[in-house]
Amino acid sequence: MLEFTLWDILSNLLLAARWTVLLSLIAFVSGGVAGLLLLLARVSPVPPLRVAARLFIEVFQGTPLLMQLFIVFFALPLIGIETTAWTAAAVGLTLFTAAYLAEIWRGCVEAVPKGQWEASASLAMNFGEQMRHVILPQALRIAVPPTVGFSVQVVKGTAVTSIIGFVEVTKAGTMITNATFQPFLVYGLVGLIYFALCYPLSLSAKALERKLNVAR
């Protein structure tokens, strides 16, 4: 029987963790862009856009991430789009991230006093100009800590993609466990890797929040 050293296990987990990091980054960046568009639709003066954005957000907040991944993974081929675990994971997590970020940011936009909307409207600015020059710069300050905080959820959310066969650190952990029969050790290491990724993010979210409160 083959013997596995601790380093064998850890090095393979760390190699797989690269995919966790990459998937997190892709989901966070593309989810951020999509979330911004969704936010603009959500607070826009056009009712159909508002309703559509709200519906999207409610659906993604009201269903488990796992179901969303299944649906993306199994539905895309039905409409003729070849999909891999990798694309399904990226698309699924992007949509999930976009919905949550849009809702977090909506709260930040609504925290900007109504007088700012009225003053900029009175200066003849349209919605886009108001958002770009007056509302978003102020909302951004408030948005940084909760946004960084939510990135922790994205990193942890990548674990779910192991179910549709994407080999990131959790899936790698399962595969290594099947070979080594040391589940406690392997999953313990997997947990430590997640913690090493997430804890700095939580810490910086807290630090940013403190900094923001001082600046006020």
Binding site: G115, A119, A121, L123, H133
Partner: protein
């Protein structure tokens, strides 16, 4: 309920109606706050709207630049007809400036940037012209030295003067002032009213909602008294103060003077 005192044009008024409101109606839910208001303001006139809180004066003022969507009636500014269905707010709002009770300066921008923003974004003026216009506007309100100050570094009176400069820089035809001294400490009221007085003397068309009765009496050409969503009396301030024709106005003046 027709106006009892006839409107009399002030010294600088030209006789040409700049703002004309006819039959303005507005409800918030089941409450009708404006019950068919007619009003005309001539170019160069300074008009103060007075009345108890809830009488509809702020709502009427805010409807003139479309911050409140009216349910009925016609608003005409500088010959452009604006009815509730089809409002070209962008054109309208370049003709109508507004100053608020709470200043509403953009806190992330300096005083100068506050003034320049709409010039750059809305009027598409180039950098040099924007800068010059902002400097001139700030100098006009006595804050030429505060170009690079952030709103948080300014007193309430200074902030309100920046807000006035911000509106003026857009070269509006008429300036709406919504209780612009009500949020100020008493010692800061005079500097803001001083600026408004100067504007009035220069022939700016002004419509003010105010509780400063002495100021209204001294500076305004015409006083408009609102009660229960209607204008029930209007005319020269001295006339209204000394010989109120309605018991509502007499009572209101009594209340204000007792303070």
């Amino acid at each position: 309920m027709s106006p009892v005192n006839t409107p009399v044009a002030g010294g600088l008024a030209t006789g040409r109606p700049l703002v004309k409101l006819s039959g303005i109606r507005k409800s918030f839910g089941p409450v009708e706050v404006l019950k068919g208001v007619d009003m005309a303001v001539e170019e160069g006139q300074v008009v103060a709207m007075i009345g108890r809180s809830g009488s509809g004066k702020s709502t009427l003022l805010r409807s003139i630049n479309g911050l409140e969507r009216i349910d009925g009636g016609v608003i005409e500014v500088d010959g452009e007809c604006v009815d509730p269905g089809q409002i070209d707010l962008r054109a309208l709002r370049q003709k109508v400036g507004m100053v608020f009770q709470q200043f509403n300066l953009f806190p992330h921008l300096t005083a100068g940037e506050n003034v320049m923003l709409a010039l750059k974004v809305v009027k598409k003026q180039d950098k040099a012209a924007t800068r010059a216009a902002a400097e001139a506007a700030l100098a006009k309100v006595g804050l030429g030295q505060k170009f690079n100050a952030y709103p948080s570094q300014l007193s309430g009176g200074q902030q309100q003067r920046v807000a006035i400069a911000r509106s003026l820089a857009m070269a509006p035809k008429v300036l709406l002032c919504d209780e612009i001294t009500s949020a100020l400490d008493p010692e800061l009221v005079a500097e803001v009213l001083g600026v408004v007085r100067k504007l009035a003397e220069e022939g700016m068309t002004l419509i003010l909602v105010t509780h400063e009765m002495r100021f209204a009496r001294e500076v305004c050409d015409r006083l408009v008294f609102m009660h229960g969503g209607r204008i029930i009396e209007q005319g020269p301030p001295a006339e209204l103060f000394d010989r109120p024709a309605t018991p509502e106005l007499a009572q209101f003046i009594g209340m204000v003077e007792a303070r």
